[in-house]
């Protein structure tokens, strides 16, 4: 996978994960063009499109578009499954996830994604394992929390 973008129906970016090195300007350009292209697609069209020299796989879940750019030798149908798996992970973590969850907790959405994919490929094919790892990492982060809480009470 070269990159993954999540954006709303109005074209607002909610998450961007790039697995190839590109300048900020290029990323912005690609994002703008791709978002436009995908939003222009009619509901009856298939989930795949050729864009520049890449294959783009996208799927809409409620008000969010999940869009991945894959290479020519990658399997489009299994990419749809990867997208679905990520949505399931988000759903399990947030409990019936909706766009607002991802807006307000975007850093968590990234953490979950980074626990599921690394360098564009799936690290673990077991939902349970990924969720367990996130859970443990969250616990570790919680251990830091009391100190901060204590501090802010005093200042």
């Amino acid at each position: 996978m070269q990159f993954m973008l999540l954006f709303s129906r109005q074209g607002k970016l909610r998450l961007q994960k790039w697995y190839v090195p590109l300048s900020d300007k290029e990323k912005k350009k690609i994002t703008r063009e791709l978002v436009q292209t995908v939003l222009a697609r009619k509901p009856k069209m298939c989930s795949f499109l050729e864009w520049r020299d890449l294959k783009v796989v996208y799927k809409r879940y409620a008000s969010l578009y999940f869009c991945c750019a894959i290479e020519n030798q990658d399997n489009e149908l299994i990419t749809l499954e990867i997208i679905h798996r990520y949505v399931e992970l988000l759903d399990k973590y947030f409990g019936s996830v909706c766009e607002l969850d991802i807006i307000f907790n975007f850093e968590k959405a990234y953490f979950i994604l980074d626990e599921f994919l690394l360098g564009g490929e799936a690290q673990d094919t077991s939902k349970k394992n990924v969720l367990k790892a996130i859970e443990q990492a969250d616990l570790l982060a919680e251990e830091n929390r009391p100190r901060q809480f204590f501090f802010s009470l005093l200042s």
Partner: protein, 820 residues
């Protein structure tokens, strides 16, 4: 200093902004606060501030001043800090910033951290955006982690290694030992990532591929793992819609594909499992189909037995009938890849494919169109063409150009009759006329010229089309050309194929003049119609009217038109005696290659005055080739002297050409072979024909060969493949002479069996210098559509030491790559 606001607070606030300006203001205020907080080196809130910065970055605002802060966060001991720090690094930093190298040390420490989640963060970041320098520095650490027993880290290390190899391919070797035991893991995560790593190594290095195939003998191992996956019962952890770990299955199938490619043993070892997967996988959900898709791709790519291939194509055929358009799309794409190799199997699904032309999805329509053209053959041409023309009528403009070209090509190859061919082309021109490519006009004109018996029918139909609609330029151009040529047939009502129409000369001239004045006509079209009117001066009796029209345009603002008119005027005035000959009917043009650029041969010396068109690129007249009566050579009897015209290449200049020609033109109506006549063909016929370079794709793989070596004369053949048509082999002959005397008047002739077509271009010279001081080169192009073994008979004539020498020889030792 009050505590900086929390992240969620900020997000909420920004979302209340009603205008872009309001949002910008909020952001600027917050950025200022964050900046001063950074300046104060506040450790407590750095994490919160960077998180807010990342949010603002996602909205599109600049956040580069946070880069160093990310590094500080990464260096912190707190896990929350590291988490945000690494996230920030992945979002804000990349290998273009020099700052990113500062991360290397932190990552190195974190890779050896006591907490696996910290190690995980480091591996993730390195594997996501590590630059080549970082990868070089840290590859050792990654390799170490690849050998750990902690599967959580092992799987991440494997993917990190993939990234390292992509960035620094030379480091691949160092991961080899650690990779060896990866496949014996039970953990699916490790298995999956290991297969990805192995795949990456195989794709990058053919040596590795061989190593895995022969030394590690990976195939049976992979087959075993795959089998276990399929046969094992329900495993809730990895189940997706009833299928056990589809992600792993797909990955294994892909690796098998690479291992089995062009290797018989490996392919055989996987035949069974592929058949099993292909027949047993559930197809009701997308997951199952994803696995089947990968299986089909693998079957088609390895050396599978024919039964398996048919199974694969049938799966694709079933996909085509699936309600899910994604599946249909994927099927069409795969069929397109296999249509060349398994043509007959794909033909069986032709009707389904044609149905896909009516699909609503653009990508599916395009695929279906490409596939349909690939499936057209002599048997189904009529039916297919009906469907394709219907498609052309109703499709989006983006398809029309490609579809029209495809129709022309298919019609040219498989037209059942001349009339059908012309009807088809007419249909395309009338429905999609403005989208046809420029070179279709000269091709079409040539086709019409060659169908002698259809001239009357063609001109009549074109005339009628012109009455209906003069907006589609290619149609108008072809029509005016035809009317100019065959106007007499039109007026005399000679049509046999259909009811002849009654047309008077004046009506015809009205139409042509209408084209000249119409706003819809482009300058090119105007040129065509003026020339057509001029030609009619020898076919019609109303010469005075024509003279008047021509003289009017002598003062036209359009320079091109003006020049033509002036020259035609001159024809009327000073050179009236030449006019009939000059404007005579065009001779039949012989096509020498049915694919690719068509070279035209003039079989008599009369030519039309070349009226260069400024719209077309300046012409470089390619040296014309000889007439193709070489088949007589094969029989070994009366050798027909082959006409070889050595032409000086004459770039067509805008203007003055006519007068040059008039000076050179010898109107002796003897048989052709006077080689000194510079033949300039009408630009609109040659356009697009000679503009394609002959040697696009040089395959160095075809070895040269010695075709003839006798009496000191040696002829060597070197080969190239001409793109776009792989059926054309381009042979360059090199003739050298080892004797002490020159070989003068050297002529090389060649003949090929009937299934081939041959084209001989001009030689570099007529003299092969003595003692290998130089060579004569000449280019031969051979069209071999049936891919039969190439054979050639050559005839050599030259003068050596005063006496003429002649020799015939057969060349049979062509390397297989030259004709396969």
């Amino acid at each position: 200093m009050p505590a900086p606001i929390r992240l969620r607070e900020l997000i909420r606030t920004i979302r209340t902004a009603r205008t872009q300006a309001e949002e910008r203001e909020m952001i600027q205020k917050e950025c200022a606060a964050i900046r001063s907080s950074f300046r104060e080196e506040d450790n407590t809130y750095r994490c919160r501030n960077v998180a807010k910065l990342l949010y603002m970055h996602m909205l599109g605002y600049p956040a580069h001043f946070g880069q160093l802060e990310c590094l500080k966060l990464i260096a912190s001991q707190k896990f929350t800090d590291k988490r945000i720090g690494y996230l920030g690094a992945m979002l804000l930093l990349d290998e273009r910033q020099d700052v990113h190298l500062l991360m290397t040390n932190c990552i190195k420490n974190d890779l050896n951290h006591s907490t696996q989640y910290v190690q995980g963060l480091a591996l993730c970041t390195l594997g996501c955006m590590g630059s080549s320098e970082m990868c070089r520095d840290l590859a050792g650490e990654v390799e170490k982690l690849l050998k750990t027993s902690n599967s959580y880290l092992r799987k991440k290390a494997a993917l990190c290694a993939v990234h390292v190899i992509r960035k620094v391919p030379e480091l691949m070797e160092m991961f080899l030992p650690a990779t060896k035991n990866l496949l014996s893991e039970k953990n699916h995560g490790v298995l999956h990532t290991s297969v990805v790593l192995l795949t990456e190594m195989c794709e990058r290095s053919p040596d590795m591929l061989l190593h895995f195939r022969k030394v590690w003998i990976l195939v049976p191992q992979l087959v075993r793992i795959l089998k276990n996956l399929i046969m094992s019962g329900y495993s809730p952890e990895h189940d997706v819609s009833g299928i056990s770990d589809p992600f792993l299955q797909v990955r294994i199938l892909r690796l098998l594909r690479i291992l089995g490619r062009s290797d018989d043993d490996s392919s055989e070892a996987m035949n069974d499992i592929l058949a099993q997967v292909a027949t047993n996988t559930e197809t009701s959900k997308n997951v199952g189909n994803a696995i089947l898709y990968e299986t089909v791709l693998t079957i088609m790519d390895i050396k599978s037995e024919s039964g398996l291939r048919v199974l694969a194509i049938n799966i694709l055929g079933r996909f085509l009938l699936n309600n899910d358009k994604n599946i249909r799309y994927v099927a069409l794409t795969s069929l397109l890849k296999t249509v060349q190799t398994d043509h007959n199997a794909v033909q069986r699904h032709r009707s389904t494919i044609v149905d896909c032309l009516k699909d609503l999805d653009v990508s599916i329509k395009r695929r279906a169109m490409e596939l349909s053209f690939a499936l057209v053959n002599g048997n189904n041409i009529r039916g297919m063409m009906k469907e394709l023309l219907y498609f052309l009528d109703s499709c989006d403009p983006e398809f029309k150009a490609d579809c029209a070209s495809g129709v022309f090509l298919a019609a040219e190859k498989y037209a059942p009759s001349k009339r059908w061919h012309i009807d088809t082309i007419m249909r395309v021109l009338t429905t999609a006329g403005s989208y046809v490519r420029d070179d279709s006009v000269p091709n079409l004109i040539q086709l019409i010229t060659n169908s002698v018996e259809m001239h009357a029918y063609t001109v009549q139909r074109l005339y009628k089309a012109l009455l209906d609609d003069i907006s589609q330029q290619p149609l108008v151009q072809v029509s005016s050309w035809c009317i100019g040529e065959y106007g007499d047939l039109l007026v005399s009502g000679q049509c046999e194929e259909e009811e002849p129409i009654q047309v008077t000369e004046d009506e015809v001239l009205d139409v042509l003049e209408g084209l000249l004045v119409s706003n819809l006509s482009t300058p090119v079209t105007r040129g065509y119609s003026l020339t057509a009117i001029m030609k009619l001066s020898t076919r019609f009796s109303s010469v005075n009217r024509i003279k008047k029209v021509v003289s009017i345009y002598g003062s036209s603002i359009d320079v091109e038109l003006q020049q033509r008119a002036v020259e035609y005027n001159a024809l009327f005035k000073k050179y009236d005696h030449m006019r009939p000959a000059l404007l005579e009917r065009m001779p039949i043009m012989e096509k020498t290659a049915s694919n690719g650029p068509t070279e035209i041969v003039q079989t008599n010396g009369e030519t039309e005055p070349s009226v260069p068109d400024t719209k077309h690129p300046p012409l470089v007249t390619q040296p014309a080739n000889q007439a193709n009566d070489l088949l007589d050579l094969l029989g070994g009897n009366d050798v027909v002297p082959v006409i070889q015209t050595t032409l000086p290449t004459k770039p067509a200049s805008a203007g003055g050409e006519l007068l040059d020609l008039l000076g050179d033109l010898s109107l002796s109506s003897g048989p052709a072979p006077a080689p000194s006549v510079p033949i300039s063909q009408p630009p609109f016929l040659l356009d697009g024909l000679s503009s394609q370079p002959l040697f696009n794709d040089i395959s160095a793989a075809i070895p040269p060969m010695t075709a003839y070596s006798k009496n000191g004369l040696k002829i060597e053949f070197t080969f190239e493949r001409a793109n776009p048509n792989p059926n054309i082999a381009v042979i360059t002959i090199h003739a050298t002479n080892t004797t002490e005397a020159d070989m003068t008047e050297f002529v090389f002739q060649a003949a090929v069996p009937k299934t081939f077509q041959l084209q001989l271009l001009s030689p570099s010279s007529n003299m092969v210098p003595a003692l290998n001081q130089g060579s004569v080169t000449q280019v031969i192009r051979v069209l071999n559509p049936q891919k039969q073994q190439l054979r050639m008979r050559v005839k050599l004539t030259y003068t050596h030491k005063g006496s003429p020498v002649q020799d015939l020889a057969e060349v049979n030792n062509f390397p297989p790559q030259s004709w396969q």
